[in-house]
Symmetry: C2
Subunit: 202 residues, 2 copies
DNA sequence: ATTGACGTGTGACACGATGTCATATACAAT
DNA sequence: ATTGTATATGACATCGTGTCACACGTCAAT
């Protein structure tokens, strides 16, 4: 977490710094980003940066968290809009991610192509994974389970794990392969379809 | 790829260097590894390192590739041993990965907890993903398709994509969560079972 | 008005890591 | 011996990080 001094900053100065950081993390992934670039761009002295953040990662995860919070809300809305159909909702959500604009897109690209477990964890936490935690319950309640083959909450949990693995992987593929939009959506839809249908007659 | 001089090295010196590198990459993930540590451990001067490798990554991917080649062979054997049952084979394979020993285990741990797309690509290439390439065909030929619901090679390809996404993710979870062996296998088996069964009545 | 306490701003600096380069060395071929 | 080619070496320039001693500004107490 950023230090108190960061939040005490006058709004314009803070936003300026945030923008500089975002720009750097859109340019290159976390481990290649340089504080020097951020402070040069934000026109603040080196010492000040460390007045606000512990280090590079601190700034990065601050940005990441705000992104994730936004997506989390968007996901819940999408799920409702699709009347609890998790599969249709996922496809909507997937297309939204890969349709992001410029700087956001670059940020996401660097994010997904360099998806460390630590980063994935931050994302998944809000996406309803991890434990049978509050987030998972919130999502679980919105899901229409009528046509689902899930026996209990455990299975539902694992189903969500699988769906998110597959979704992450498809996003990575899209960003890495520079696939055209249509092809990316088609691939993802195919995989979602296969997940619904199942792989084998048991 | 390492330079020719590396391969021209007398075997003992080369193995010594390889071992030092392996040790460093078992200690910390790629982006935190330091060449200084490797050369100190291998007792070679700095300049020599650059005689053999382009940089840190070059050394890392050399090691990674040899690991991957071994696993690739092991996977094919496992698939045969299970008479083409891809699901049982995956569970065998999964348990083999998480049962690795000491230095290998640490290397794998750092690998999976910091799975960049570039790294994943190297791994997946040999695991039969990516294109409908030679590797995929080799695996495809070994798979018993009798009880599979796959309509064509395309669907089979996507099925393999999904399986590998889920497998990767389970390995990461295991390494990150320090799950006990039994629990990890149980989780993975559940997810494989759900994949076979399918999520929904369409 | 002066003092002191506190939060904040600043940039010089020590440290450590990287990649290069000029020079040294080994060894083979003539 | 001489020349050529491949390899070895470590000092060095460069760059990025995190720290620290000091400067500054504000505000409340005197």
């Amino acid at each position: 977490m950023p230090k108190i001094t960061f939040f005490n900053l006058p709004e314009d100065k803070r936003e300026n710094l945030v923008h500089a950081a975002k720009k750097e993390f859109a340019r290159v992934p976390l481990y290649q980003a340089s504080i020097s670039n951020i402070i040069k761009d934000a026109k603040i002295p080196r010492g000040s940066f460390y007045q606000y953040f512990d280090d590079k990662e601190d700034a990065f995860f601050y940005l990441l968290n705000s992104h994730v919070s936004a997506y989390k809300m968007y996901f819940l809305e999408t799920l409702q809009k699709n009347n609890g159909d998790i599969f249709d909702a996922m496809i909507d959500f997937y297309t939204a991610i890969i349709t992001e604009e410029r700087e956001n897109l670059q940020f996401l690209r660097n994010l997904f192509l360099n998806m460390t477990h630590r980063i994935e964890n931050v994302m998944a936490r809000s996406f309803g994974e991890n434990d049978l935690n509050e987030n998972f319950r919130k999502i679980s309640n919105l899901i229409n389970k009528e046509r689902l083959n899930m026996q209990d909450e455990q299975e539902l949990f694992h189903m969500m794990q699988i769906i998110s693995s597959v979704t992450f992987h498809n996003i990575v593929k899209k960003f890495a392969g520079e696939l055209p939009f249509d092809e990316a959506v088609h691939n993802y839809s195919t995989e979602i379809y296969l997940l619904k249908k199942g792989f084998a007659s048991i």
